[in-house]
Subunit: 245 residues, 2 copies
């Protein structure tokens, strides 16, 4: 994707408001606008707050990651930046299965599944989570997805393959700016022609990013666990990402 539109799309009606983003219709059927908020939530929305500048960081970092991925053959919904915190995207029907890729143990692996934090994983862990707030986005497996009918065997293989390819690209990118990509969450969507492309965002909200030298956490865990200097960590990721591009 990432081709520039001839005329800038004009923002229309609000289509969907999530915890961290708003999606708007535009005057063009083939484009939506995704706007990134400063609102932060954690633990299924039980913890709420604001991270100054987060909307901008997440929008800019996502734009750069989507461009990088597109250059490496990973089709995605990004079209172009419209402002500091808004981008034009292609409309997709989001598949209600979040894909999590893990290179190092952290988060729910430690809290809920008995792994010790900070251990390198080999092979890489890939997980499916049902996108369902009421049920707290539970882990699901292949046979659940088949039973729901969200994807068939080929669709799951495709998503797993894409997720691992994305992991390779992002691991290398973040390593180049001194960061360990610990884990990240992806969402995919279906285009009108039935093809599946990457959607959502790639940012410190959806990735765990640890400084390679100090081990310092530069992601939403600073907000989740009240580690302080949250804004500064987000800015640090934007600065390093922008420098690399």
């Amino acid at each position: 994707m990432s081709e520039t539109t001839e005329t800038r799309p004009v923002k229309g009606e609000l289509l969907h408001e999530g915890k961290a983003k708003k999606v708007f219709k535009t005057d063009r059927e083939d484009l939506l606008i995704q706007e990134f908020k400063n609102d932060a939530t954690a633990f299924d929305g039980t913890k709420k707050g604001t991270i100054e500048g987060k909307g901008t960081v997440n929008c800019q970092v996502s734009a750069m990651m989507f461009k990088l991925l597109a250059e490496n053959g990973i089709e995605n919904h990004y079209v172009e930046l419209l402002s500091e915190n808004a981008m034009a995207i292609l409309p997709v029907e989001i598949i209600p299965v979040e894909v999590v890729v893990r290179n190092i143990t952290a988060g729910s692996l430690v809290r809920h599944r008995g792994f010790e934090e900070g251990k390198k994983l080999d092979p890489t862990i890939v997980e499916w989570y049902l996108k369902n707030n009421e049920l707290h986005d539970p882990l699901i497996n292949d046979s659940h997805i088949l039973a729901f009918g969200y994807l068939d065997e080929d669709g799951m293989a495709l998503l797993r393959e894409k997720a691992l390819k994305i992991n390779e690209i992002l691991l290398e990118f973040f390593a180049g700016i001194g960061i360990d990509l610990v884990d990240f969450k992806l969402e995919f969507g279906r285009r009108p022609d039935g093809s599946i492309i990457l959607a959502d965002e790639i940012s410190p909200d959806t990735c765990r990013l640890w400084d390679k030298e100090t081990g310092r956490k530069l992601d939403k865990d600073r907000f989740r666990f009240d580690l302080g200097d949250v804004e500064e960590a987000y800015q640090e990721i934007l600065k390093r990402t922008a420098t690399a591009n």
Copy 2:
């Protein structure tokens, strides 16, 4: 297995006490004794009680199921009945991954994963749960098992294949006594020679069993959800199972 021992093993020291069973050493290195208790627990042990006669029902039903499975080529730890509520078993090192097979939606599929109860599943759902009380036996996936090192790809394929074969055999057996086998939990263990065999129990504690005509629940859900007539349901399963054999 299920060959008779020449001399009855003599009960020795208690090796392990679980929520529903005790395992004892015997005077023979190659045999243990598994004793079934009337104690009932549910929801990670937060609900406790006693079901009169449960130890006997679960021991007798398990013995019959293990014999049936052995006759159908599924090696398991059962050797012989020693009393109403005790059986001789082969020692195995239990693999800390519980295998759940589901033919009809119920239980955690409904409570935690958004399925409607009582729907026939096609294909059959197979799930892995980490055997870990503190973590409340969480659902895990293939890549978690690889990361833990509990099984390799071949081991997982073997367990899945055995679980589905067991499902076929049990589905047919229970259908013959007017019961829908909704779902069940299996545990497997490693023999000293490295081979993996079925262990644990197969009973109304570990299976959901619904009367085909009335839909009446004839399993531990009567205890879990205070449905009444718990003892009578367990006796009904024993009666029907024994009649079929």
